[in-house]
Amino acid sequence: MSIRTMLENWEKYRTTHPSGDLHKDHPEYKWAMAIDLDTCTGCNACVVACYAENNVPVVGKERFEHGQTMHWIRIERYWNDEDADTPNQGAQFLPMMCQQCEAAPCETVCPVGATNHTPDGLNSQIYNRCIGSRYCSANCPYKVRYFNWYDYPEQEIAWPEPLPMQLNPDITVRTKGIMEKCTFCIQRLRTAQSTARTEGRLVKDGEVTTACAQACPTGAITFGNLADPYSQVAKMWRQQQVELHKDRQDKDKTGDNGGVRGYRVLEELRAYPSIMYLERVRDTNA
């Protein structure tokens, strides 16, 4: 059966991804985000929401300082002395989570195939397949993959009573030796997609969102379906002149970023991330 499958689908098996055509690669859904760094205040509400939604364990202060962190989304704080007339101006925040790369470097190197690319454009992580070789994290340019260095559910500090009652039943609790990362709250997406399919339609823009986008008080995170040209996130990507399948945007050739704020992190590595960041507005030009 496998040889027949292989021979029948040979053409399809030999194409690369992403091709130039988003609608050919992802006809129905392509989940993407746009994060406005000017609106982001670094309040960490998104981080806390992610902990609550995805059963992310608390590792404790000692292990966190030791570097064995566990947080699917992290707020990076940068301090730029040149920009700073006041402390407010110097600090910059960047929420960094799994960029759900279209050509993810982590997917090729997992020896058991625990991480793959889904048809709706997510980088999936299959917990029960993972044997913990950590090659995916080694290959990730953003280092957004987090490993369970200890058996956190066994430990008092992760979910002290009565917190286990707060755990999300839609998602597993991971044991030691497993890699995990941001999944764009895939459990919410699958529920919404399933409901929509039962009703014979596609998921509408705004019908489903990730926990971090939901919790953000300033609305810095916009989540949606890039394959839907009328979605908020697709409009933002178009406005910012950022295209998913390019490793260098056309606007970058003019030298001033085309006058818009949108960019993707480490784009030149050709991982084709699905998260667009909007640069902070700086007062220096005013």
Partner: protein, 451 residues
């Protein structure tokens, strides 16, 4: 007249007696050393049990330092394994006769290094008890491992190399097992009778043996090159700075041959002394290995330098930053030691006096291997400290006692296996030494006739 690799008047019966003496009942000193290796191994086992129960966090891994001494030691042991192939296969094909007394223990070193390396792949996994997911076995979910992953290529290549090495070692030792069988009593006779498969040295058997040995040797050479290139691909096929270097496969193969040669020198001196093999593992042969090691050291030095040069020429600021970090950051003492041991110390091997001095060669070979072990560590660790993403750069992470314990344990494991081998299998290939002596007598006769 140049000193000969071996005396041409050694009686063949004497060869049998001398080598068989090495596999007779072991003395107290053997048992003491065996227990010592066993203790080292138990330290490793204890560390592994602790790590299994608690989780990999006890090894001091963190984000982004997800790999450490386990992968470095894995590559080191695979590298050591190239010694046997070099001596058995490559030197066989070019008819370098001086390899004949020493290739048996080198081939054994290959096999046991591969077994040790296999252990490291397993202990470095987060869920070691599920390691069989990486093996291609049919299951009800039709899931197969991801053949795109260089780690998977490792699994396939090392399996091939290990089994082929064992077969090569075994097939090459069949005539020697026959000798052991003919001189043994009791359980040993049964044991060697089974192993020698009824070998009687008939012309039919020798004829086929010759062709088989040469054929497998011809396969083993590209296999060895490909195995270590595949191990190098673990790094070269990623895109991290300091790893995504096209010269990694040949660089690793050169490093492997290098550490293999150094290990051969170490074991040569140990075995020569322990089993009194002075007639067979002669100083001229040590001289030749010393020269070979020097040549390979220069190849390695060149490839090492090429890596630095290509970073200097290239426009990749990440790679340049990383190189400067290696030279000036917290890893710099190890990096400079590696460069010193790997590139400067081999120049001592130019001197014939040093090559003939056993103590000096022992120290030099250990230092060379230290340099090579450090090289593997310096490939793995600095890239994690200093990748593409500034937020995750962390130059202050060191392995814990658990990792060091396992590295010690691996040496203990290797020692155990090697010592068992020395007492069960003749560590000098008797029939090949006889061939060596025979061809020298023929050459002497011819020389005398023509003179």
């Amino acid at each position: 007249m140049e000193e000969k690799d071996i005396r041409d008047d050694i009686a063949w019966a004497q060869i049998n007696v001398d080598v068989l003496r090495s596999i007779e009942k072991p003395r107290l000193s053997f048992w003491l050393l065996f227990c010592f290796a066993g203790c080292l191994f138990l330290i490793g086992v204890a560390c592994e049990v602790y790590q299994w129960r608690k989780g990999l966090g006890v090894a001091n891994f963190d984000n982004p330092h997800v790999w450490g001494l386990y992968i470095a030691s894995f590559i080191f042991w695979i590298g050591m394994s190239h010694s046997g192939t070099l001596l058995s296969a490559i030197l066989h094909i070019i008819h370098a006769d001086w390899r004949k007394p020493i290739y048996r223990f080198a081939e054994a070193m290959t096999t046991f290094s591969l077994m040790t390396a296999g252990l490291f792949v397993m202990v470095h996994l987060g869920r070691l008890w599920k390691f069989y997911y990486s093996l291609p076995y049919p299951n009800e979910r039709w899931t197969w491992p991801n053949f795109q992953s260089p780690l998977l290529w490792d699994a396939m290549a090392i399996f091939t190399y290990l089994t082929s090495s064992i077969l090569f070692l075994y097939v090459g030792a069949i005539p020697d097992f026959a000798i052991c069988r003919d001189n043994a009593t009791g359980w040993r006779k049964h044991f060697y009778s089974w192993l020698s498969l009824g070998w009687m040295g008939t012309d039919r058997q020798w004829r086929n043996f010759r062709v088989t040995y040469l054929t497998i040797a011809c396969f083993l050479i590209p296999l060895a090159v490909s195995v270590h290139s595949i191990v190098a691909s673990d790094f070269a096929m990623s895109q991290q700075p300091g790893w995504h270097v096209t010269s990694f496969p040949p660089y690793f193969v050169a490093g492997a041959l290098y550490s293999g040669c150094a290990a051969i020198i170490t074991l040569f001196i140990v075995l020569r002394h322990t089993f009194r093999f002075e007639e067979y593992m002669t100083l001229p042969i040590l001289d030749k290995i010393g020269r070979l090691t020097f040549v390979i050291a220069m190849v390695w030095t060149y490839l090492n330098f090429v890596e630095y040069a290509s970073v200097w020429y290239g426009d990749d600021m990440y790679a340049k930053d990383l190189l400067i970090q290696k030279a000036t950051g917290p890893y710099s003492p190890f990096w400079w030691t590696m460069n010193f041991c790997g590139s400067v110390i081999p120049f001592l091997l130019i001197s014939k006096t040093i090559r003939g001095n056993l103590t000096a060669m022992m120290i030099i070979s250990l230092l060379l291997n230290l340099g090579m072990w450090l090289e593997r560590w310096m490939i793995v660790a600095p890239t994690f400290s200093h990748g593409y993403y500034p937020w995750t750069m962390d130059h202050n992470q060191w392995p814990s006692f658990v990792q060091w314990g396992m590295v010690l344990g691996s040496f203990g494991w290797f020692g155990l296996l090697f010592m068992l081998f020395c007492k069960l299998v003749p560590s000098v290939s008797m029939y090949e030494v006889k061939e060596m002596v025979y061809h020298r007598t023929l050459a002497q006769k011819k020389y005398a006739r023509e003179a």
